[in-house]
Amino acid sequence: MSVIEIRDVTKAFGERQVLEGVDLSVAEHEAIALIGASGSGKSTLLRCIDLLEEIDDGDILLDGEVITDPSVDPVGVRRKLGFVFQAFNLFPHMTVLENVTIGAIKSGEMKKDEARDRARELLDRFGLAGREDDRPERLSGGQQQRVALVRAVAPGPRALLLDEVTSALDPELVGEVLEVVRELKDEGMTMVIATHEMSFAREVADTVAFLNGGRLVEMGPPGQVLDSPSLPETKRFLGRLHTAGLA
């Protein structure tokens, strides 16, 4: 059974149609990379899955249960998903440790000590030992994004949603963040990754899905979609990236 299933999802912001009839299913331990130009709907799709945006039509299922029904409590759903934002969005008034633990503590899922122990262990593992008591502003962008990743995985989510997690970083800091994602993938974390990093998509993703103007137009193994795309739109998009030296 798929962990996440998206059925015919449609979403508009006012007059602008952002998602049109998107179908996608993410199996356990699978990593799907969403690629596509800016404004193609990648971020919106991720935000819809985490119920940060309301969809207009269709259904999204988590472990076989519809989560986009108005009767479903969004808080309970979000606690089962981890989300990492492009701009880190750490809480600036809290320490690194507080950032990582506050979700689990306030939701009542973990006792304070338990949450702290788990956070320390994860921070340690991802090279952030000794930074527990620092405010985010004292950290580099790469470190902040790694903290954000730890914050998202600390409660043990069913799946991780990554929204262009390296786009706001200086080029030399991208690697350390991708390394964390790679490790999580190796552990079997189910992931949906919106990304501009084609080489990373190729390396980590099991499936690459190409969004164009709110429609999911092409999907398949990375080798197939990235090397021999069948649609002219996909070819054009990848061609533009090649010209820009990004792929």
Partner: protein, 299 residues
């Protein structure tokens, strides 16, 4: 940092005999000396001009033909000594009023701001009321409100409503200031980026938790300077309740002034207000400066 070096080679008059390395050191010493000289000169000029202007002003005032009159009417030592203890004890009422009103304003203002900032459709009618409240209480002169409350409400003889003009006057002040402070808080809440709320929701907080643990702490930190500014105003505006017959420092000073036909008691009262407002203003400066430093370091 500075290498000790022979005095002669640092001296520009030493001539071209210094080596290249020494020359660079010589330039640095030279520059530093020039800088120090400039700063010494600046201090001397500041001191001299202060002495000249303030001294001149004092001289003009003290030697003017009206000065003895001013001194006996405004700065009479005997009248001051006589009236000060009474005014000081009346001033404690100002302090108590200020502390009580401030406590109410901090809570009520925040409550109104939170309601006005909420997006919950169930709160729509309360949101409208809160907006109306802010418009009305910010738009009416505080002195009118105090008068209306202190003299108007007792005539209604309402059951359970206190008739004490002190309490009614303070209530009017608290309501007016809550409206101002609510707007300050609201600006702070609006200044916290929506992505912070998204992030709080994404880690599994409820909307109320997101507000309580993520948005409000950041919002309040940002509005501390304008909040303190409003409290400086409140510290002196408590004197307005004098118009409904409450004998606080200003009213006591007025009474003394009328009795002796001398204005020194009002000066005594003014000094007492300054005694609390000036430290608050310095605290405000200090906090603003510190916040600037923190923000600067973050960049």
């Amino acid at each position: 940092m500075n290498r000790p070096r022979p005095r002669s080679s640092a001296d520009p008059s030493a001539g071209p005999d210094g080596s290249a390395i020494l020359k660079e050191g010589g330039r640095r010493a030279e520059r530093e000396r020039a800088k120090r000289a400039r700063s010494r000169r600046g201090q001397a000029v500041a001191f001299g001009s202060s002495l000249l202007i303030l001294g001149g002003l004092a001289f003009l005032i003290l030697t003017s033909s009206g000065w003895p009159e001013v001194r006996s009417q405004f700065f009479s030592v005997e009248v001051f000594r006589e009236s000060f203890p009474g005014i000081l004890s009346a001033f404690w009422l100002d302090v108590k009023m200020f502390l009580a009103i401030e406590a109410v304003v901090l809570v009520l203002g925040l409550l109104i701001a939170v309601v006005r900032s909420s997006v919950n459709p169930a709160l729509f009618p309360i949101r409208i009321l809160a907006a109306l409240y802010c418009d009305i209480f910010r738009g009416i002169p505080v002195i009118l409100l105090i008068y209306l409350f202190g003299f108007g409400i007792p005539t209604l003889e309402l059951e359970g409503v206190p008739g004490d003009p002190l309490i009614l006057g303070c209530t009017a002040l608290a309501l007016a200031y809550s409206a101002y402070v609510a707007e300050v808080y609201r600006a702070g809440i609006a200044s916290v980026n929506q992505t912070q709320t998204d992030s709080a929701l994404a880690v599994g907080m409820t909307r109320i938790q997101a507000l309580r643990y993520v948005v409000l702490p950041q919002a309040i930190r940002r509005v501390r300077p304008p909040l303190l500014n409003d409290f400086i105003s409140l510290q002196k505006d408590v004197a307005l309740v004098a118009i409904v017959g409450v004998i606080e420092a200003f009213r006591q000073a007025q009474i003394d002034t009328a009795r002796d036909f001398n204005f020194t008691p009002l000066i005594a009262a003014a000094l007492l207000y300054l005694l609390v407002t000036i430290p608050m203003a310095r605290l405000l400066d200090y906090i603003s400066a510190r916040d600037d430093v923190v923000r600067g370091a973050a960049r």
